[in-house]
């Protein structure tokens, strides 16, 4: 039987940052057990449980049981025809792999989603962070740095998972299973005034004033700890400006996460008391923005 060779020291957590490669397509019991133990550590799931009954050894992982006595292998009560476990069986144990010219590579990263929340790109992943974020001349790209699974599809190294043009990386943050990238366009300095209800571009580079009518108040989007501080620059800048305008106009100041102002955009909702307050408001904004 061909021997399974793990190219990396299997009990070293630090070495798990590399893809695990096998040069065999038939695994013996011990090799499979070691592989599943590594897999459970990488994906932070319950490790395989093992036991013996007489001379029979067995392991249980991902709801499946493999028993072994010498060259006899029994998988979920069915005898396997070969004196080992075919590599295809790894799928059953929830282990993803790819067969390449170099052998069988075990995939240690699953990117489940990449979504834009305002100006923040959120990458939800499991296992190792086998992707990189690149700033090109006029775009930001997320690329695979090793084989990985992206929304269930295998991606090869250097393959682009996400690309956004005309933006740059402002900051990044990482917490368990989540990588966040705050993007920005050009520098802030100008402003736009829109009626409340009109859509605001999440990549809006200017300060946004959504103006409606009400009881004389300014509403600023509050921050959330979920965003790991990525929304704090826009929050503090918006709050500072809103406070000045509210003081000058004698308006109330409110903090509320209003959906109409995208996360990371500097801006506010202004509810004027009356229509004839519009010129005063515009003059105030013009003057404060010029300071």
């Amino acid at each position: 039987m061909r021997r399974l060779i793990l190219l990396f020291a299997i009990f070293s957590v630090t070495l798990l940052a590399e893809t695990i490669t096998l040069d065999a397509t038939l695994l013996n019991f011990d090799d499979l057990l070691q592989l599943l133990e590594i897999h459970s550590r990488v994906f932070d799931v319950t490790p395989p449980s093992t036991g013996t009954v007489g001379s029979m050894r067995y392991l249980e992982y991902n709801g499946h049981v493999l028993a072994n006595v010498e060259d006899l292998y029994i998988l979920d009560n069915s005898k396997l025809p070969s004196p080992g476990v075919p590599v295809e069986t790894l799928k059953l144990f929830g282990v993803d792999y790819i067969q390449t010219g170099d052998g069988v590579k075990i995939i240690t990263c699953r990117v489940n989603s990449i979504e834009e929340i305002g100006k923040t790109v959120v990458v939800n992943f499991e296992g190792e962070k086998n992707f990189d974020v690149e700033q090109t001349q006029n775009s930001v790209r997320i690329i695979a740095k090793d084989w990985l699974l992206f929304r269930g599809v295998v991606k090869m190294p250097e393959e682009v998972l996400y690309e956004k043009e005309n933006v740059r990386i402002e900051r990044t943050a990482e917490s368990d299973g989540q990588f966040r990238i705050l993007l920005s366009a050009e520098s802030v300095g100008k402003y736009v005034v829109k009626p409340f209800g009109e859509r605001v571009d999440p990549y809006e580079k200017d300060v946004v004033f959504l103006v409606g009518y009400g009881d004389g108040r300014i509403i600023v989007r509050s921050f959330s700890k979920d965003l790991n501080g990525l929304d704090l620059p826009a929050y503090s800048e918006s709050l500072k400006l809103a406070r000045k305008i509210a003081n000058e106009l004698g308006y109330k100041l409110e903090e509320c996460p209003v959906y109409d102002i995208p996360v990371g955009v500097v801006g506010m909702i202004v509810l004027l008391r009356e229509k004839d307050e519009m010129p005063v408001f515009l003059n105030t904004v013009e003057r404060l923005m010029a300071e």
């Binding site: 989007r221 509050s222 959906y259």
Partner: protein, 148 residues
């Protein structure tokens, strides 16, 4: 004598197991007015019952029976609301509903530092139409009344 002992024990038990709940209502000018009421077994449920029944002269934006379920996870509180009860809220009532609920929760439940809101057991983008509920609400914002 036996009757007096019974009354004394009952009063002591009432004192031991009662909790002071501070409930935020609004006056005509939409300014917060905090009233103290007595809670007993289930502070979160009692907070919502109290929030939906304002004393005379005060108002509330919290509808009766809006709370579907709640869960504590570490220092997080997850509030699950009935979507049906939130329908028809306008921009003002949606925001004041949020402020009343969060301000009251953070006033009373000291171990909670963040609140998540879900609707009918599911994650949603908005509470009714305008308030973003994709992210948690931190104590730092709502331990004070968020309108100044």
């Amino acid at each position: 004598m036996r009757k007096s002992v019974f009354v004394l024990v009952f009063l002591m038990a009432s004192v031991l197991f009662s909790v002071e709940l501070k409930i935020c209502y609004l006056n005509e000018d939409l300014l917060p007015i905090v009233k103290v009421t007595e809670g007993r077994d289930n502070p979160v449920l009692e907070i919502f019952e109290a929030l939906s029944s304002p004393p005379e002269g005060l108002k509330t934006f919290v509808p009766e029976g809006v709370l579907r379920a709640y869960f504590f996870v570490g220092d997080y509180l997850i509030l699950d609301f009935y979507g049906e009860k939130l329908k028809g809220m306008n921009f003002d009532s949606e925001r004041y509903f949020l402020h009343q609920v969060l301000y009251t929760i953070f006033l009373n439940v000291k171990g909670v530092n963040n609140v998540y809101i879900i609707i009918d057991g599911k994650k949603r983008d908005v509470l009714a139409k305008h308030v973003d509920i994709r992210f948690s609400f931190p104590r730092e914002v709502w331990e004070k009344w968020p309108i100044r």
